[in-house]
């Protein structure tokens, strides 16, 4: 019987999702490798379509179209790669705090509370804006990677499918993706958007902390600020003790000092 590398690769991919729990006797459940299994299966499907398209293509243009389709599929596949600014969601506004009274003047007894709520909402809007910019830049990078991958593939079409060929194709795709991502990540727009995302997140957290502290005080609960004050006093006492110790220690060291300096050799050149 002739070896069938394609079947081997598919069987291997299938194992990603199903084999691990059974192999160890662990309780059934989703494999930790499931995301990579899914990725591999979808990569395989795209590669299979490419090989089918290229095999049936009678003209160079058709082969190029098959390569372009492969690149487009990879672009879709990697569009939502796990990045910190993609994790927290909210780009659709679903996690945003209520935007009540955003533009109402803050008056009366609840003035401070309203202002804080407005600042929280404003910070959240800034987070969303920065997230959208980062995701746009990321999507552009993946599109650029797909174009680069297509160009490479068209320049030297892959041979018949085998596990090794597929893995090499996958490696080529990762190279293209990292190159494009690196260019984007070094760019000024990306660095600015990332800084705005982080800074807005810091602002949002600070206002939220202040809000929680306000509630804690109403219930006479200890707050982080109070604990910080105590910690800082303790740190100051420690520094004071250390400073006094430093005054004493050199004298003691001089009194008992019998240290020897290590011999230094002349380095060989």
């Amino acid at each position: 019987m002739q070896p069938d590398p394609w079947a081997d690769w598919q069987a291997f991919s299938a194992l990603f999702t199903s084999a691990a729990p059974r192999a160890t006797g662990a309780a059934p459940g989703p494999s930790p490798f499931a995301p990579f299994a899914d990725l591999t299966e979808r990569f395989n499907a795209a590669a299979r379509a490419y090989f089918d398209g290229a095999a049936n293509a009678s003209a160079p243009a058709a082969a190029a179209a098959a390569a372009r389709s492969f690149g487009d599929a990879l672009r879709e596949l990697f569009a939502n790669i796990q990045l910190p600014w993609n994790l927290s969601g909210g780009a659709d506004g679903s996690n945003a705090p209520p935007r009540f009274a955003m533009h109402s003047p803050a008056l009366g007894a609840s003035r401070e509370l309203q202002l804080r709520a407005q600042r929280i909402a404003q910070a959240w809007r800034h987070i969303e804006e920065a997230q959208r910019r980062l995701q746009r830049i990321g999507a552009d990078a993946v599109r650029e990677a797909a174009a680069s991958f297509t160009t490479r593939l068209a320049a030297s079409p892959a041979s018949a499918p085998s596990a090794e060929v597929l893995q090499k194709l996958y490696g080529t795709w990762i190279d293209c993706a990292e190159d494009a991502y690196s260019r984007a990540a070094h760019s000024e727009p990306f660095c600015s958007a990332l800084a705005e995302y982080v800074n807005a997140s810091s602002e949002w957290r600070k206002e939220l902390q202040a809000s929680v502290e306000h509630s804690a005080k109403l219930l006479d609960l200890p707050t982080r600020s109070e604990i910080n004050t105590l910690t800082q006093r303790l740190v100051a006492v420690e520094h004071e003790l250390r400073a006094r110790h430093e005054v004493i220690r050199p004298k003691a060291a001089t009194a008992t000092g019998k240290r020897r300096r290590t011999q230094r050799k002349k380095p060989k050149t």
């Binding site: 192999a23 990579f36 990292e178 600015s192 982080v198 800074n199 910080n228 800082q232």
Partner: protein, 336 residues
Amino acid sequence: MTPGSSFGALAALAAATPGAAGCSEREVVWQSGKVKLFRYRPIARPAASAPLLIVYALVNRPYMMDLQEDRSLIRGLLNQGLDVYLIDWGYPDGADRFTTLADYIDDQLAGCVEWILRAHHLDDLNMLGVCQGGVLSLCFSALHPQRIKNLITMVTPVDFHSPADLLSKWARKIDVAALVGDGNVSGDVLNQLFLSLMPFRLTQQKYVDLLAGNPDRAAAENFMRVEQWIFDSPDQAGAAFREFVTWFYQENRLAQNRLEISGRNVDLRALRVPILNLIGKRDHLVPPAASLALRELVGSTDYTALEFDLGHIGMYISARAQHEVPASIAKWLAAR
């Protein structure tokens, strides 16, 4: 590649137990708060050299230096007959949020150095600073040059504004004081940041390659140990983190001779001891240019830079590093 062998690979991975952190015998010889100073048990004929203190980074756990028997920089150094000490900074918690770089350098690192010098009745020792620990070592050595016999820096950034330094570019416009507030910085957040430097390789390819590579049990366990180390990231003491990012990444004070610790200028020109600078040519966290800048900044006339065709982590745990790095260090020390 056959389905059967892959099945075995998955089983090996799932069964792999990373095991306890570190593999070489050691004992705690000094402790201050969460900081522990370890001394490793000799396993070879002692070399005629002063003790070697390894100063690891604050942002990861130091057991990467002693991951497993065949992937251990420390074991390699012990095999060369060196007397090895290691600082473990511990896991900072909320009570450590006001710990500053001065506390780390002038109190905790200085405390470790003092203990070793007293124990050995010496005036100076050899220091090996790794990554961020190399920066701490440079600061300490510049402030206390009489305590250092030879200084070795490994994958250590010095010029934080080199063109390939992505972390630095990302950090420039971030309001670090607002980010830190009065708290600590989560190790998980830093992990996400590090993964974001090369997301396609670090969150996708390495897992696919692992499974496609059909690892045996030993390879699977090695992978899982590294995986454990990568995600075992301590929270960072807020004050020290704020200082480090602001002074080094944003303002590049060390390279510009504008850094002060405890009110004293950290002048690298004061460093006249022999210096060995170990660099990973494929380091994506600390670009070679960031490390190579050291030569122009120090006062030492005995400066050696060794470049290895390795990445950041590969400098500690790759098979190639095991053969090359400890032997290079021992040979360099033996000549001084």
